[in-house]
């Protein structure tokens, strides 16, 4: 009997971790003779509708396959008083949130505050997992939520403490596909990945090309001044979108290899640089055509324009919904926090209209998904030149039809990483 159990649980485990497909699981279970008896268990898994399995049995979310994250503990009770005294630690990327706003929060609630930084999401997860950093709230991207919840790194949220979410944030993000009912997160910034260029140096009318992404493959004239993002997903996605392949979360080795070949073809054409510093190099003019994040472009306009350069020389294009990636990141409450009520107040604070707008316009240039921020209003206020309206998003850009780079299975991640490594090795 024990052997049977071991066999069945082994099969179920293999199914959960994505090593075998449902079909194979059925066959294997039938071989063990348990197919019928375990139908309920399997159909529970099947309810995820062929969705791939992530760590801890949490399905991998996609814009058209929303996921409700399981609660590994109950959220705190409503109506409690926020904690005071001590230090409140905010964990996020460097230079990503205005220190003045953090200090203001600390003053309001009579705590000391500090910002601890990480260089990448991997570092964030690793530091939280190994308890190298004890944070109260952390910045996190949706593709890491399965890891974070399975590993119990973040706490569930009690929505009673975060009324600003429903009040101020886009409706399409009240119950996002990666975290239905907003059980763990509050959105922070939204951004698209598109093409940023200097319109005084690049003469093509990129938005009106039949395939705007093809500008990279026709950029011989700008050799040495072209750039691609230093990110294993973004770079390969560029090549996929160029070919009209919109399954950007694919794990098909053939699709990934094709993207790699296309990307490698860029090297003799324009010898692209691979970095994420386009927010400085585009304004300074050392880069003319760059795969670009919308927030970087706006941040460049706000903070990095040289004195003698007019912001209208910068242009940005991003693909319409469903044809180009739109991403967002979030805030979550760290499981190691000793101030859970205060952490909830932070989530509410960060989606307050004034705070979010200040952070955006006066600091990092990454747009928060607030109803109060519209492209027309920003142009009217003179914050951005009219030609950069394209870098500002609206609520309609999000939805089930949108493309978002999300979590892959470890096998898929390995495929993407190895392909990217081959590109970077200049082979």
């Amino acid at each position: 009997m024990q052997n049977h159990d071991a066999g069945v649980s082994g099969i179920l485990e293999a199914l959960r971790t994505g090593r075998i497909s449902r079909r194979q699981a059925f066959k294997a279970l039938a071989a063990v003779g348990f197919g019928g008896a375990l139908a309920p268990a399997l159909s529970r898994l099947a309810a995820a509708e062929d969705a791939l399995m992530g760590p801890g049995g949490i399905p991998l979310a996609r814009p058209d396959k929303p996921v409700t994250l399981p609660l590994w503990e109950d959220p705190i009770k409503s109506g409690m008083e926020p904690e005071t005294d001590g230090t409140f630690t905010v964990f996020n990327y460097a230079d990503y949130i205005d220190k003045a706003l953090v200090d203001e929060f600390g003053k309001q609630h009579k705590v000391k505050t500090q910002i601890t930084t990480f260089d990448s999401m991997d570092q964030c997860i690793t530091r939280l997992a190994t308890h190298a950093v004890r944070a109260d709230v952390t910045n996190i991207t949706p593709d890491r939520l399965a890891q974070a919840v399975a590993g119990k790194l973040i706490k569930p949220v009690n929505p009673d403490y975060v009324p600003n979410l429903k009040k101020n944030v886009w409706p399409s993000l009240h119950s996002p596909f990666y975290d239905q009912e907003s059980r763990y997160t509050v959105p922070y910034t939204v951004y698209t990945t598109g093409i940023g260029w200097r319109n005084d140096k690049v003469k093509e009318d990129i938005p009106n090309l039949s395939n705007p992404w093809s500008i990279f493959w026709n950029s011989q004239a700008y050799k040495g001044y072209v750039g691609v993002l230093d990110d294993s997903r973004e770079a390969l996605v560029l090549a996929m979108l160029y070919r009209g392949n919109y399954d950007i979360n694919t794990e098909d080795p053939a699709a990934i290899d094709k993207a790699l070949e296309d990307l490698k073809a860029l090297i003799p054409i324009c010898n692209p640089k691979v970095n994420i510093t386009e927010y400085q190099t585009l304004p300074e003019g050392t880069s003319w055509l760059h795969q670009c994040w919308s927030g970087d472009l706006l941040g460049g306009v706000f903070s990095y324009m040289p004195e003698d350069t007019d912001p209208s020389v910068l242009s940005y294009w991003s693909a319409p919904i469903g044809k180009g990636p739109i991403q967002n990141d979030c805030w979550a409450i760290s499981a190691t926090t000793k101030k859970p009520v205060l952490a909830h107040m932070w989530l509410n604070y960060i989606v307050d209209n004034t705070v979010a707008t200040d952070n955006f316009l006066n600091f990092n240039g990454y747009q928060p998904p607030m109803n109060s921020i519209t492209p027309e209003q920003l142009v009217a206020q003179g914050r951005i030149p009219a030609n950069l309206k394209t870098a500002v998003m609206t609520a309609a850009d999000f939805g089930p039809g949108a493309l978002q780079e999300m979590t892959l299975t470890p096998k898929g991640q390995a495929l993407w990483q190895s392909a990217y490594a081959k590109f970077v090795s200049g082979a």
Binding site: D122, Q147, S418, A421
Partner: protein, 303 residues
């Protein structure tokens, strides 16, 4: 002389050496074994944190073998490995071509200016490597002095862009960065050559160039080798120089690959395997160097 070693108790020197040796074991050997453990180990399924396999019986050689096969022609790492080897070889050759005459001149010929030259020679050694790279980048940038000079003097009326993936710039930057670390040991080695041997050669009728070729050069060989090893080995693992001088994939080195696999992702065991293979490849040179140093130290020590 040996009789007087009774001044100090016998255990004294071992006791003195103990803290340092323990430190090196804990913070050099053990970490190296951690690399081996991760290369042969697995990955935590939830967090993607490497889980090393300490017991050799638990080793999973799949990553290591796959990485090793990648070094064969046509494999994933063949091109980048070849490119790194070529860059290091060229940079080393240029360093020797420039550095040997400089070291030779200062040790043998300079008289009045010797101390000044020495001070100037030591100066770059004290300036941060990255500061020197920054200076280099500033000079060779499109609006920098080098291109201005080349255009003005009509040597190259349309000067090339040095910093856009140009392998020549990377090699020259490696030379510029590492040559001080070559010249100083070389200088010390040349200094130690007994002048009386040279005088004897001249007395026996050798011309200056013949004396150089047959006496100085062979005697300096061990110094040349040692100095070469001192800069070639670290150069193999360099990844920041290509990143600064050119951000392009066409000049990336093996260090860049290691860097990539370790800064995130599900395959730290590949990063560890690459590190391991790099170390083993360099181990041959390392062992020769250390053997000759240890032998020379023993010879001097034995008085």
């Amino acid at each position: 002389m040996r009789e007087h070693s009774g001044i100090y108790p016998r255990w004294l020197w071992q006791a003195f050496a103990l803290p340092g040796v323990v430190w090196l074991i804990l913070l050099f050997l053990v970490p190296f074994y951690a690399v081996i453990g991760v290369a042969f180990g697995g990955v935590d399924p939830i967090f993607m944190i490497p889980v090393p396999a300490w017991n050799p019986l638990d080793w999973n050689a799949e990553s290591v073998i796959r990485t090793l096969l990648g070094f064969l022609p046509g494999g994933d790492y063949w091109v980048v490995f070849l490119r790194t080897t070529v860059y290091v070889a060229l940079a080393l050759a240029i360093c020797l071509l420039v550095g040997y005459p400089v070291a030779y001149y200062i040790s043998r010929h300079a008289r009045r200016t010797k101390s000044v030259l020495l001070a100037l020679l030591v100066l770059p050694f004290w300036v941060s490597y990255l500061m020197r790279m920054l200076a280099w980048v500033n000079l060779f940038a499109p609006g920098g002095y080098v291109n201005d000079f080349l255009a003005w003097s009509h040597i190259l009326p349309d000067p090339p862009d040095w910093l856009n993936g140009n392998p020549v710039s990377v090699i020259l930057a490696l030379v510029y960065g590492y040559i001080p670390y070559l010249i100083l040991p070389l200088l010390a080695a040349l200094d130690r050559i007994d002048k009386s041997l040279l005088e004897a050669a001249r007395d026996l009728g050798a011309s200056p160039s013949s004396a150089f070729l047959h006496v100085t050069l062979p005697l300096s060989m061990t110094g040349v080798l040692g100095a070469s090893v001192i800069i070639a080995l670290p150069m193999f693992g360099d990844y920041y120089t290509p990143n600064i001088i050119s951000g392009s994939p066409t000049t990336s080195m093996l260090g860049n690959q290691i860097d990539l696999f370790f800064h995130g992702g599900p395959q730290p065991s590949i990063g560890a395997s690459l590190t391991l293979i790099l170390s083993l490849f360099l181990a041959v040179l390392m062992t020769y160097y250390m053997y000759s140093v240890a032998r020379a130290t023993r010879e001097v020590r034995d008085e």
